[in-house]
């Protein structure tokens, strides 16, 4: 029952009782004036009881409200689920994000650290060759020096092919390392959803002090939303979280499952 209606109800009852009390008080005066002592005593007792019963009724109502509010709180399984599973899960998810981003950063840095000296080496080598080549063009090289230059050129070309291939492969690695953004992005979105859920439930908790929550609907909503999630997709399964329901690990697992289905 909304708060305002409860207050109006109490006010109406109080007015009723007050008019009853007033009537009894008037009768009491009449009894005393008439000298009916027994009748007067009975009325005084009645008046006392009326006051007490009003008090008890209010107390009873308050107790009932408190009881129901506490029950609603206990029945709100979403809150306890958030506290017991999803917050620890969220921590694991964020740890997964840290681990994935760290791994990608290292992978990228390794590729860069390996490639930079190769590129620098190729540049220096080309510069040195360029200088000698310039002297050759100016006809400043002896036959012996030219033989050395020719060997150097062969070595440089071989080195260019080999280092070029290594650098290409390192750059591919840098490219693949960027997949962390997709994978961690999906996980972070999930944690954002949880934070919004917590916020909504906290607002509900605040509201509970005034009103009772309708719990059965919430439980139904929850079941519906977990069904919807499977269609929408849930993002990467994070180890150490509740993402354990029949998750296939790795490409081999998927290939095995598909071939068992006749693929």
């Amino acid at each position: 029952m909304p708060h305002r209606e409860v207050e109006e109800d109490v006010a109406r009852k109080e007015a009723e009782i007050r008019s009853l009390q007033l009537e009894k008080a008037r009768q009491l005066v009449r009894f005393i004036e008439a000298g009916d002592e027994a009748g007067a005593n009975r009325l005084i007792e009645e008046l006392g009881r009326m006051h007490e019963s009003l008090l008890f009724e209010e107390l009873g109502k308050l107790t009932r409200d408190l009881h129901e509010a506490l029950n609603a709180f206990r029945l709100d399984s979403r809150l306890s689920e958030i506290a017991q599973t999803e917050i620890p899960d969220a921590k694991e998810r964020l740890n997964y994000v840290v681990a994935m981003t760290e791994q990608s950063a290292h992978r990228t840095l390794n590729a860069v650290e390996e490639s930079l000296p190769m590129v620098e080496g190729l540049c220096r080598h080309a510069e040195a060759l360029g200088e000698t080549w310039g002297r050759f063009r100016n006809r400043e090289l002896s036959a012996e020096e030219f033989r050395v230059l020719s060997q150097e050129l062969t070595a440089f070309l071989e080195r260019s092919v080999a280092d070029g291939e290594s650098i290409r492969s390192n750059l591919s690695d840098v490219l693949m390392a960027q997949d962390f953004q997709d994978l961690t992005g999906q996980v972070i979105r999930k944690v954002i959803d949880l934070v919004q859920d917590v916020e909504k439930n906290l607002v509900g908790l605040v509201r509970i002090s005034g009103e009772r929550l309708s719990t059965p609907e919430q439980i139904k909503n929850k079941e519906q939303s977990s069904r919807d999630a499977a269609t929408r997709g849930t993002g990467p399964a994070v180890p150490g979280t509740s993402d354990v329901s029949e998750v296939i690990t790795g490409q081999d697992g998927v290939d095995d499952l598909l071939s068992s289905l006749g693929f």
């Binding site: 997949d179 997709g233 993002g235 998927v254």
Partner: protein, 147 residues
């Protein structure tokens, strides 16, 4: 050893059969992943690629674009990949389009659901360039063998 020889012959056939000019649509809500896949495909020799950021933008492109191959993520806003796959299979003009799912979704039920909707391949993220090449070749090898 006869078996091994047969396999090798098969491989040679595969190398030849995949058309490098085929028109490919890459669908993923993360632009970084689309770029990665696009680059990997370019490395494999496939240059004719387009991109879409979810199923609802991909579907009209597929209907009007004469695509030969669809690579799609699962977990996307608006229209997830599984719904896109179902829509493709339900469309008389698209139902034979080869579809490769590239996704982080790894629940058994989900893979089974994709299989039930005649997905042609399923790659779990994170994946390698080799896995991508292998699955694409396998898909077209099967199509070739089936036709």
């Amino acid at each position: 050893m006869g078996g091994r020889t047969a396999v090798r012959v098969y491989w040679i056939k595969v190398e030849v059969s995949v058309d490098k000019n085929m028109k490919i649509l890459i669908v993923d809500d993360f632009s970084t992943m689309r770029r990665i896949i696009k680059n990997l495909l370019r490395d494999l020799g496939y240059n004719n690629t387009s991109e879409a950021d979810d199923g609802s933008t991909a579907l009209p492109m597929l209907k009007n674009g004469n695509y030969d191959f669809l690579l799609t993520d699962w977990n996307m806003p608006n229209m997830p990949g599984i719904e896109l796959l179902k829509a493709v299979r339900a469309d008389p003009n698209l139902k034979h389009l080869p579809v490769l799912m590239v996704t982080a979704e790894a629940k058994r039920d989900q893979i089974v659901e994709a299989a039930e909707n005649a997905v042609n391949g399923y790659i779990i993220k994170p994946f390698t360039a080799d896995t991508l090449r292998e699955k694409i070749e396998k898909i077209f090898e099967r199509i070739e063998a089936g036709s």
